[in-house]
Amino acid sequence: MIVDTQGQALSVLSKLAQADWPDRLKVRKSFEKLVYSGSRVSFRLAAGGSRNTPRAATDDLFDLSLTEEQQMLVDMLQGFALEVLRPAAHEADARAHVPAALLNQAHQLGLAHYGVAEAQGGLAGERTVLSNALIAESLAQGDFSLAAALLVPLSAANCIRRWGSSAQQAAWLPAFISEQGAPAFALAVTEPGVLTDAGQPATRARKRGKHYLLDGEKALVIAGLAASRLIVSAQATDGPALFIVDAASKGVSRRTEPGMGLKACGLTRIQLKGVKVSSECRLAGDGFDFLAFLDYSALAFCALAVGTAQAALDYVTRYCNERQAFGEPISHRQGVAFMVADVAIELDAMRLLLWRACARAEVGLPLRREAYLARLLCVDKAMRIGSDAVQLLGGHGFTQEHPVERWYRDLRSLAVLAGGLHL
């Protein structure tokens, strides 16, 4: 089957062109630029695809710049985040619900294309890890929780593309970018035990002929209740594995599991009791590497943390200049200003560790150490930033009049979640 990548890309764009919200959001220009670059050099460049322009082997210079296409992607999604997600975030948090209209708009953005390989008509290539991180980072500037919810389909597609066999990819991926959309997925990886290690799931997968039987419990599954398919991590006799499980299977029971934050994205507790899964549903790509699966997941959360921390920096910078105390803006005091400077320093540090791990992934360098250190740093610094942001707003920061208390709650999740998203 010959898939017309450019055609697919253009069909996403045409949907965007018909929607009216890009005008409201003043992001029409970014779209048009993307369309322009799409018609010029094929949209796949926007995915950071480098096949058209392979880097010369000698050109391995240190380079922090984004490609023109990556920059456009960032501009477009930041616009969406700040104009659509941010205003919707408070209500979504309070109601523990993502508005359907928002999901629809996000679908129009065609994000899942970045998770589906070119062979299946998507835009993802080897070099889309950073683009994926930029997507997450940009969306999270609007809201951590909404961004997480919107990233679930992309994450599922990434997961199947990276870890599934070619037959599994061909079976599952095209739906993600089809007109009617893919079945709702969720990634069920985190477990409820204390001092657990996601690398050694307590959930068991016992082989029984052509099936596996899954037993265990998964916690804080993002969008778990709405999902009709679950990607479940479980310990098989030959090591940790991932299974695509029909959420309606016998033995699966689910309940909402509200937490400190991430209210909008429908956290779910899932029990698996003797759930029968066909062997064909075990992800079986050639290079299957469960620890690497966790690394890419960690990076997804790091990217959300970077975006949220950026939002916090922007918010407190403005607030501290406007808020007066003792006859002058509070930003004139070092006790305040130095906290803001520290937010900026650590945010930049988080971003560089994240970007480095992504850039390494794109050229096939090992990323275990880099992903581990990125996560470690982001867990610490993002929470510090969340806490300082509340502090800088004083009592006002403690109330829901401002988003900082929500970011505070959301950012704590970084230390706790494993595997719910995937770059």
């Binding site: 210079l61 240190f62 380079d63 290690d197 004139h332 130095f338 400077a341 581990y372 470690l376 740093l377």
Partner: protein, 403 residues
Amino acid sequence: MNLETPRKFHGLQQQAQQVAKHYFRPISRKYDKVEHAYPKELDLLAALLDGMNEGSPDAVGAGSASKRGAACEQRAGNKNAGNMAALLGVMELCWGDVGLLLAMPRQGLGNAAIAAVANDEQLARFAGAWAAMAITEPGCGSDSAAIRTTAVRDGDHYILNGEKIFVTSGERADAVVIWATLDKSLGRAAIKSFVVEKGTAGMTVTRLEKKLGIKASDTASISLSDCRVPAANLLGNAEIDVQKGFAGVMETFDNTRPLVAGMAVGVARAALERTRELLICAGCRFDYAKPLLTVTHAEATLYRLEAEWEAARLLTLKAAWMADNKLPNSKEASIAKAKAGRVASEVTLKCVELVGALGYGEDELLEKWARDSKILDIFEGTQQIQLLIIARRLLGKSSSELK
């Protein structure tokens, strides 16, 4: 995007690593013990480095960290040039010994100042000279705009009067770049820097400090008493441009702060590596696989330090990369210096703690690194001064609003 060090600098890194390992480390403790003795071993090394630099466009050392370096490279697009080369060299050498690096002939911060702001005639005249930098005075350090040393024009000369302290290599260098004011009433804009050559009548070294660390590096007090300096030794523009203010002399810092950050990254790496070896001998394992909560406290601590160190390193590379690409980098240079300065202190001190008595004793170099690193969070602008610069930029504040 690529955040790995480019292959074209691997040779340079390797050379610097060899020097650090086989030249600096063996004499590291010796010159920590005999403060104020000149490490004569460095002369040979400096000659070697000069030779290396002649033969390579990507020179090691302070002099190559300047916008000039970037300008040499004609190619359009992304550049990795003199600032990054100098930084990578410094990182490796300070893995060996920060004090010895600071004591290296012709690699002084004064050389960086000359490289950054001298005109072509001056560049030629001072080529090969080892230059120290003297800003700090007994009455002012962080507040460099408050310096009291004066320069008064007298025909073809300026006459300098004042007191300078804490001049790194002030005794050993061939020349000292002295900051002085042409007119105290005009504030920052009137501050200019002058190259004063050793032996100039009226300039005397009055004292050498005894210090916590970097003992291999001499720290001199210098007195200037009717010291006549040729007018042609004034670096940059002699006009007092109140609009431009401090910018001229301060520009140097955008290039030198990443270098000091690089020193911090270098010494911190030394401590991390040695501590890791000792911890592994004691049964620790580092495979970057288990959650932090399920490894030993010692392992988790080292992981944390390593993450902080990576952050410092990448922020520093970023600042140098921006300089090479002629992007305004004052904020990023200060971010690098602030982060690397505090991380080096944290890492080196924690490493002493992690290996206990062994770390505290003089049989290992860990206690020395923990003393050496502290200065890196102080000179070229303290932690607090960096935070001020960063905060003013972020918040859009002047120095009178955010003091």
